[in-house]
Amino acid sequence: MTDTRQFGDLATQLIAESRRSTLTDTLLKYNDNLVRSIIREQRDLEKMTENSQNVTPAMLIYQTTIVRNKRCLLAYHKHRMDRLRDMYWTAGGALPHILSNQDIRSKLSPHEVDFLRQYSTSVMDYRAGFTNELDITASITHPPKDLHVLVHVIRDCGIIQTELGTIDFQKGQRFMVRRADIEHLIVQGYLEEV
């Protein structure tokens, strides 16, 4: 059974996947197979255009397809990069937290992991310059109204050291603590603001 397809069909599938990811607001697994088959298609097309010197309509079609494939690949990767970047910022720049989460880790390709790492390094370098005036990785969606915040423990996070002493967070209890100390725990989902 031959696998007859149009040119650029695979690329459209890739775009459909990106679209699905946007609509369901989730990060899907990096579709390595599809990307590889598109690249293979590109190579085949390139081979076909290499030989002749004349500009025939067939050549034009190959050229268009090649350009389209390239554009789709770029769009897919950019889309994923944007999602990863958003995820990074929502997590407050806690890269180890993202990477240690098996759920997410399994969806990334090695290159994407590298991208995240380097991005994180850049942000950290940038942030280090003025961290005593402003912490850019802190949340800005809800400006804090109060110095202290009442939190409810959702998941056990054990004993946390803060600059005001140690706090032992246990499930089913409520604490009133300084916001700055536990902001990162709220973002990571261990605590919930009441």
Binding site: D168, K171, R174
Partner: protein, 701 residues
């Protein structure tokens, strides 16, 4: 351990609530580096403690004190918590709400071994309190502070007795070094059995000196010392009796914890409507669960009445006590108003017929469990001019003029049926346009229902309008208690918790069942805590309270119908071992409500039995013991209730002591799972023996 007099009795030399609170703040601010977990509040699971905790947490939050709130379900839980707390080096304030008054907290079992800088505040409405808590002094004693409501002023006799017995334990004084073991042993043998076993916390029996002369010289010395420096035997006996009487007369309740917190807020001049409402809820809870008498309720009610008018002035053209007075004036109107409350259960949210049917007072007077009684009820309603369709309408849809006339008609016609005390003064709170004004009793019912059954049991609640085959032909829907929090968390990013029911997954280990139950109880606690300040879950909880009441009525009427009440010599016993709602009644809170309903319903029909006090001073009352089988754990939950013969009166609950003694006599395997000694969980096989022993114990009174 000292007791704090309330502010109106305070003076410069006797610090009161405000100073104690100021000390907490000072201790917190003085050690900034260790302040993160330095104040811990332990809360017992009842409505009063919840209200008090809320007031206190708000006060602390306004003062920027970092604190921690931990719910504790019973003595076992408290012990476990104490073992954990020992490891916290930074802890300097511990506040116990509605727990711990009866325990001797300075002994090694409890908090005696904690560091010296720890202060323990005990705000408890349970009485009797451990006299050691109240009166012992010294450096160890100063750490434990009991917030008293003025009752301690009247305990001068007990104080004298306790001090005499503690500080002059044996016929020898401390300076006399040539004491003898035998002497002490002899006097200790006499003293030992006098006290109740549970309350024998007299530390001085440990003061043993091992020096001893021969017998002859002691005899001589004793004769010499016999004169004036020691207490005479008779005096010691009188003191012992006094103290035994204090502990042995049963348990009763003092000022509610939320009232204490409200007084604190008043002294600090920081009251507002929310605090007032919470204090009112605490008081109403005590009254509707028959913990305080009508007189006490009136006393506190008058205080709150003045407060309401101080904080919520009505506009001049609206007179108080009309139905207009409790409608919301504006969307942001959150004020508290005074209103007369009818004794019908949740009547503003039910149909009128249902409210009267489910109220225990009406049930008792009319005999609702029989068909004849129900006819009388419809007859009463008809006489008042309410047509049957009208009484089947939810209250909110009833005709306006009927609503206005309701009070007047009831006052005129109800006495014919014996329903005399139908109203009592109470309060209602407006919630703007989000809900109709909610009365204090209804709010207490809703919060109590959440606390008991918000999760862990399948409860069916009725959808309004679904009766008699309503729109969707469905009778009801399943109550979904704490699910709201779950949805909020799911909207979170993937990085965060993607564990929808991950909590439950973590609980399926060896102690799976027990941990699940504890988790549910804690969730209920927080659901109830949140509902205190948010009207939406509170309103939803009303339907839960209604279905809870329906279950209680079902069970209660079937008990009375089947004549399931066994009369023992001194009390009555009901044992539930089957039925549709068995799992529901395995909760001590629900079982206690059933008991109260039975007491109210049967008040006029059963003769009271004379329960003599220690000296035979008998007051007639209606003691009830209700037991329910918990199929899952194969144990029986037993609750003892002491009902009074007159409506609005209360009796001291002697079942706590009776249970303990019976338990020891028959060696039953049992445990007290809550802070109330009159609630017991006992193995299935031991129940029969236990009940029989209880009868013997009862005779001893």
């Amino acid at each position: 351990m000292v007791f704090l007099p309330p502010p109106h009795l305070a003076s410069a030399s006797r610090p009161a609530y405000a100073e104690a609170y100021a000390n907490i703040l000072v201790a917190h601010r003085r050690s900034p580096l260790t302040s993160a977990s330095s104040v811990i509040i332990l809360v017992a699971p009842d409505v009063d403690a919840l209200c008090a905790a809320k007031i206190l947490a708000e006060l602390l939050k306004q003062d920027d004190v970092m604190h921690r709130i931990i719910p504790v379900s019973g003595l076992a839980d408290l012990e476990r918590m104490k073992d954990e707390l020992v490891t916290y080096a930074e802890l300097h304030t511990l506040i116990l709400l509605n727990m711990g008054a009866i325990l001797d907290l300075s002994s090694e079992n409890w908090f005696g071994e904690f560091s010296m800088k720890l202060t323990v505040h005990i705000i408890d409405s349970n009485r009797p309190q451990n006299l050691a808590n109240m009166f012992s002094g010294g450096e160890n004693g100063e750490r434990f502070i009991v917030w008293d409501d003025g009752e301690a002023e009247n305990m001068g006799e007990e104080r004298k007795a306790w001090e005499a017995l503690t500080y002059e334990p044996e016929p020898d004084s401390d300076e006399d070094s040539e004491l003898d073991d035998q002497d002490e042993v002899r006097s200790n043998e006499d003293d030992g059995p006098d006290d109740d076993e549970e309350f024998s916390e007299r530390g001085p029996s440990g003061k043993r000196r091992s020096l001893g002369d021969g017998d002859r010289s002691q005899e001589k010395r004793r004769k010499l010392d016999d004169q004036s420096t020691r207490l005479s035997r008779e005096q010691r006996d009188t003191y012992h009796e006094l103290i035994a009487k204090y502990y042995g007369s049963g348990s009763w309740y003092g000022q509610s914890a939320s009232a204490t917190m409200y007084i604190l807020a008043t002294v600090l001049e920081r009251v507002d409507c929310d605090f007032l409402w919470l204090a009112i809820l605490g008081l109403t809870f005590q009254y509707t669960t028959a913990r305080i008498s009508r007189d006490t309720y009136d006393k506190y009610h008058s205080i709150y009445y003045d407060e309401v008018f101080r904080l919520n002035p009505l506009p001049p053209d609206v007179a108080a006590n009309t139905t207009d007075a409790i409608t919301a004036m504006s969307p942001d109107d959150l004020s508290v108003r005074a209103a007369e409350e009818l004794r019908f259960m949740l009547f503003r949210h039910w149909t009128l017929y249902d409210a009267m049917y489910h109220s225990s007072y009406v049930a008792g007077k009319l005999g609702i469990w029989k068909e004849r009684g129900r006819k009388r009820l419809t007859g009463l309603l008809a006489k008042m001019g309410f047509s049957i369709p009208q009484t089947q309408q939810p209250y909110a849809h009833m005709d306006l003029d009927l609503k206005h006339q309701l009070r007047a008609k009831l006052d005129s016609i109800a006495p014919e049926y014996g329903l005399v005390e139908l109203t009592y003064p109470s309060f209602a709170r407006c919630f703007g346009y989000r809900a109709s004004p909610l009365s204090a009793a209804d709010a207490v019912e809703a919060v109590g229902a959440l606390l008991d059954v918000a999760g862990g049991i399948r409860m069916e609640v009725e959808v309004e309008g679904a009766r008699h085959g309503g729109e969707w032909f469905g009778g009801g829907r399943l109550w979904e208690g704490g699910r709201n929090g779950e949805e909020k968390r799911e909207k979170r990013i993937e990085v965060g918790s993607r564990q929808k029911d991950g909590d439950d997954d973590a609980d399926t280990d060896v102690n799976g069942e027990e941990r699940k139950e504890r988790t549910w109880w804690v969730k209920n606690f927080w659901a109830a805590y949140d509902a205190l300040s948010d009207i939406v879950p509170l309103r939803d909880a009303l339907s839960l309270a209604m279905s809870l009441h329906r279950a209680i009525i079902r069970q209660g009427t079937s008990i009375i119908d089947k004549q399931d009440i066994r009369t023992m010599r001194s009390h009555r016993v009901v044992v539930l071992s089957q039925g549709p709602d068995l799992a529901l009644f395995a909760h001590p809170g629900v079982l206690a409500r059933l008991g109260l309903w039975l007491v109210d319903a049967l008040r006029d029909r059963l003769p009271g039995t004379k329960i003599g006090g220690l000296k035979g001073r008998g007051k007639k009352s209606l003691p009830f013991v209700v037991a329910c089988l918990n199929e899952r754990t194969q144990t029986y939950v037993v609750v003892g209730i002491m009902g009074a013969l007159d409506f609005g009166d209360v009796r001291r609950n002697e079942f706590g002591l009776a249970f303990i003694e019976a338990k020891q006599r028959c060696n039953a395997r049992s445990r007290h799972s809550t802070f109330d000694a009159s609630v017991l969980e006992i193995e299935q096989e031991d129940l029969k023996l236990f009940l029989e022993t209880l009868c013997e114990v009862g005779e001893g009174y």
